[in-house]
């Protein structure tokens, strides 16, 4: 059984320990606590950061036990209370310390009393995948002829790769898992001028991965956190070092922080349409243009010209319509809509992770130039948008499953 070492503060008093253990058990892992001496002085001196809270000192001592290999574990889960500044500092510095001194995969989380096992499940699953498929995840080059299938809730994507290059790709809105997959597979094969029998290995990801995995006899069936991360850093040619992968989806958003292409933290939002691509789609409709044109139009407008009083899809868009009536240009209104989405993602989601550079923007919305500019403006960086950025999951699948050839 995979042993996940828990380094945490505040979990017992937040009433969430049972949720952490339940999530770990669900993915076949066990939570363990590194044994340490009550005297933390040596560990604190070695670490170089002396927090005031004893609970955080204990976390440092436990991290040192892992670094010294005086306690054996397969992976590390670091968690502290949401909104605790001291906890956030220690959480992130311990992550760096462990990544420097050990080869253990690390996943972080900042919890509230509402944290449920289901929220932690993807993180625990990713940890277990990283442990079990460590060698596979180290793969940086695709070989042979492989196909990646990403069965998402909104769209289904297929990518065929040959000798580290994309030779066929296709995407389609998801209707039923199988029908959509059959369609994108057929089109991608057509572009690649191949038959299904030519494919040496298939990898599936996304929520429909199990059904597709069974149907296509996939050699790799893997959750999207690790697969998307590999796909994104591969396409962006940022396979070494730190990065943040930002995927603003039509329905939900993901921000994943990675080290050498391996994820260590992520945040997912899906509560508010105002912080998603759907807000931009609705704005485009009100402006009477296609979403394809919207990105370019927004890129021509001024980001900060139109005042926005609400991020809400109903009230915010009403404000944008009023701005048009007041004489603002369509370009400026489109730019304001992009700013609105970027601001809300920054305020609601990116506060939960430590944003690392470069920021790699992926997914369908990364094709909207105005949104990429708005994200860059708010993060004070120029996001990297790799070619085929909407295919990261499928590319990650094709890349990783080539390890089974």
């Amino acid at each position: 059984m995979i042993k996940i070492a828990q380094l945490s503060c505040g979990n017992d008093y937040s009433g969430i320990q049972k949720e952490i253990e339940k999530a770990a058990e669900t993915v076949g892992a066990k939570i363990v606590f590194p044994d340490v001496d009550i005297d933390f002085d040596d560990a604190i001196e070695d670490f170089g950061f002396d927090p005031v809270s004893p609970g955080l000192k204990l976390m440092v001592a436990r991290a040192k036990a892992l670094a010294d290999k005086s306690f054996e574990a397969d992976a590390v889960f670091i968690a502290t209370c949401f909104r605790c500044a001291e906890g956030a500092l220690i959480r992130n510095e311990l992550r760096r310390y462990l990544q420097k001194h050990t080869k253990l995969p690390v996943v972080m989380y900042s919890f509230t009393e509402n944290t449920q096992a289901s929220v932690l499940l993807t993180r625990m699953e990713a940890l277990v995948t990283i442990v079990k498929r460590k060698d596979l995840l180290g793969r940086e080059r695709q070989v042979g002829i492989t196909m990646g299938l990403d069965s998402g809730s909104a769209t289904t994507k297929a990518v065929i790769m040959q000798d580290n290059k994309i030779v066929g790709k296709y995407w389609s809105p998801t209707t039923t898992v199988m029908e959509s997959a059959e369609k994108v597979v057929a089109e991608a094969l057509k572009e690649a001028k191949m038959d299904l029998k030519d494919i040496e290995s298939i990898g599936t990801t996304g929520y429909g991965r199990y059904i597709l995995g069974q149907h296509y006899k996939a050699k790799l069936v893997q959750e999207e956190l690790t697969v998307n991360s590999k796909g994104a850093v591969f396409l962006a040619d940022k396979q070494k070092g730190e990065a943040t992968i930002l995927d603003i989806g039509g329905m939900d958003n993901k921000a994943i922080t990675v080290m050498d292409g391996i994820p260590d933290s992520f945040t997912m939002g899906g509560i508010c349409a105002g912080a998603s691509g759907r807000f931009l789609e609705t704005t485009a409709k009100r402006l009477g243009i296609e979403i394809g044109e919207f990105g370019g139009m927004a890129a021509k407008g001024e980001l900060h010209k139109v005042p926005m009083n609400s991020y809400c899809t109903v009230f915010g868009i009403q404000g944008l319509v009023s701005a048009l009536a007041e004489g603002y240009s369509k370009e400026d209104v489109a730019a304001a809509a992009c700013r609105s989405v970027a601001e809300q993602i920054y305020q609601q989601q990116l506060q939960e992770i430590d944003v690392r550079f470069p920021v790699i923007q992926v997914g369908g919305t990364s094709l909207l130039k105005g949104l990429v500019r708005a994200v860059g403006d708010i993060l004070k960086t120029e996001p990297v948008v790799p070619q085929n950025s909407q295919f990261i999951g499928a590319v990650g699948g094709a890349l990783l499953c080539s390890g089974f050839i």
Binding site: G10, D12, Y13, S14, G15, Q17, K18, G55, T80
Partner: protein, 144 residues
């Protein structure tokens, strides 16, 4: 009288208060009650999401859940307190709440209550230990 002790899980302070005829408002009894509850919903200490919301009486919603969860346990003890003994600069072996922000808030709340309070430094040698115990004894015996 009911005496709130700080740190709330100090077995030494709890014992001293009992020896001098008062009732310690200590965390151990509260934890004992919880972990022996036949309905152990949330191990290890049986603190649930509802308890953490009880902590809202003592700390605002933006305060981390770990602080509110701790206050949910000993906030009611502070409410009951008729006197208090506070020890400063103690090692973890004497008592530990693990969270510096909780410590600050707890001391603030007990001081706000304006009950008779004895504040002491943790003793570091034998002479200081004797003085430490003598002062606690005098304080407790002087309470009516």
């Amino acid at each position: 009288m009911k005496i709130f002790i700080y740190p709330p899980n100090s077995m030494i302070l709890q014992d001293l208060v009992e020896r001098f005829g008062h009732t310690p408002l200590a965390l151990a009894k509260e934890i004992d009650r919880r972990v022996n509850d036949p309905e152990l919903d949330s191990p290890p200490m049986n603190i649930t999401e509802i308890d953490v919301k009880v902590g809202l009486k003592y700390a605002a919603i933006e305060v981390p859940s770990g602080v509110r969860g701790r206050l949910a346990l000993f906030g009611p003890l502070i409410d009951e307190a008729e006197a208090a003994i506070i020890v400063n600069d103690f090692p973890s072996t004497f008592g530990c709440m693990a969270c510096a922000r909780t410590n600050e808030l707890t001391i603030y709340l007990i001081k706000q209550k304006k009950v008779p309070t004895l504040e002491l430094e943790y003793p570091t040698n034998e002479e200081e230990v004797e003085d430490f115990i003598a002062r606690i004894k005098n304080f407790l015996e002087g309470l009516k």
